[in-house]
């Protein structure tokens, strides 16, 4: 009994400690929340963002801000994808100081599909292949100079790629 009690309280203390750390870091982060804090956060695999259901939640979890549509983000995706398991999608942009590019499929069970870090010296252009459950908007997010820009295109899917 004593042992299990100890185990419990130790675990509890850890959780409390975690909560305190979060509480301490939380407000402190606000003044620096633009570029550096997010750059640091981006170094880890963004598990929560990939688990988010909707596109808006995923963007919020990944970047902590919202994107504005921009004509400078060029999203290249097919009008109609016959096979939803392999949809070639690419993004390029003329924006300067790009630090990351992300792809979201709004109607997928988890909207965020892929997120790429673009270090200085790497061109802001990425091509990849994604799965689409059904006809959906595809959203490309470009993070440039600490701001988010987006482009959206609807891709019609005849055979879905995310379920039976």
């Amino acid at each position: 009994m004593t042992i299990s009690d100890n185990g419990f309280s130790a675990k509890r203390r850890l959780i409390l400690k975690g909560a305190v750390t979060v509480a301490l870091i939380g407000p402190g982060n606000i003044p620096f929340s633009l570029a550096p804090a997010f750059a640091a956060a981006n170094d880890k695999y963004p598990e929560d963002a990939f688990k988010a259901k909707s596109d808006a939640d995923a963007i919020k979890s990944l970047y902590g801000k919202t994107a504005e549509p921009s004509e400078k983000v060029k999203l290249d995706a097919p009008e109609i994808a016959e096979n939803g398991t392999v949809v070639p999608i690419s993004v390029s942009t003329t924006l300067a100081d790009v630090t990351s590019i992300s792809f979201l499929v709004s109607e997928n069970p988890n909207a965020l599909a892929a997120s790429y870090k673009i270090p200085a010296g790497t061109l802001p252009s990425v091509a990849n292949r994604l799965k689409m459950a059904k006809t959906s908007n595809v959203i490309a997010i470009v993070e440039a100079g600490g701001k988010l820009y987006s482009a959206t295109k609807e891709v019609k899917v005849t055979v879905g790629g995310c379920g039976g």
Binding site: V86, P119, T122, L123, K131, C162, G164
Partner: protein
């Protein structure tokens, strides 16, 4: 075992174009097999490209990336004959690494 990673890095002018193709099931966890049982999620989470000790491209992937994933990007400053190091890790902790010469 042969590497799961196939890379072609070609330098032209001041940029190096990199194309990579990786063998991986990229199971999403939403698909059922013939018996109607759900295939558990199994997908690459992080793919890193390093040149000259620095990462030039890092991909964070979810389950929505297609089976046997393909990715293409370009970076400035690669030299012919230099090594490009590519590595991935999936959600089960499996990894693979390879190096490719820039052509």
């Amino acid at each position: 075992m042969a590497s799961t990673i196939r890379v072609r890095a070609t330098q032209s002018g001041d940029t190096t174009e990199v194309q990579a193709l990786i063998q991986h099931p990229m199971d999403s966890g939403f698909v059922k097999d013939a018996k109607g049982e759900t295939i558990p999620p199994h997908f690459i989470q992080e793919l890193t490209f390093e040149y000259d000790g620095k990462s030039v491209f890092v991909a964070d992937w979810g389950a929505a990336v297609s089976k046997d994933p393909y990715v293409k990007f370009s970076f400035k400053g690669g030299k012919k004959g230099d090594d490009l190091k590519i590595s991935w890790i999936d959600n089960k902790g499996a990894t693979d690494t390879t190096t490719a010469k820039i052509q």
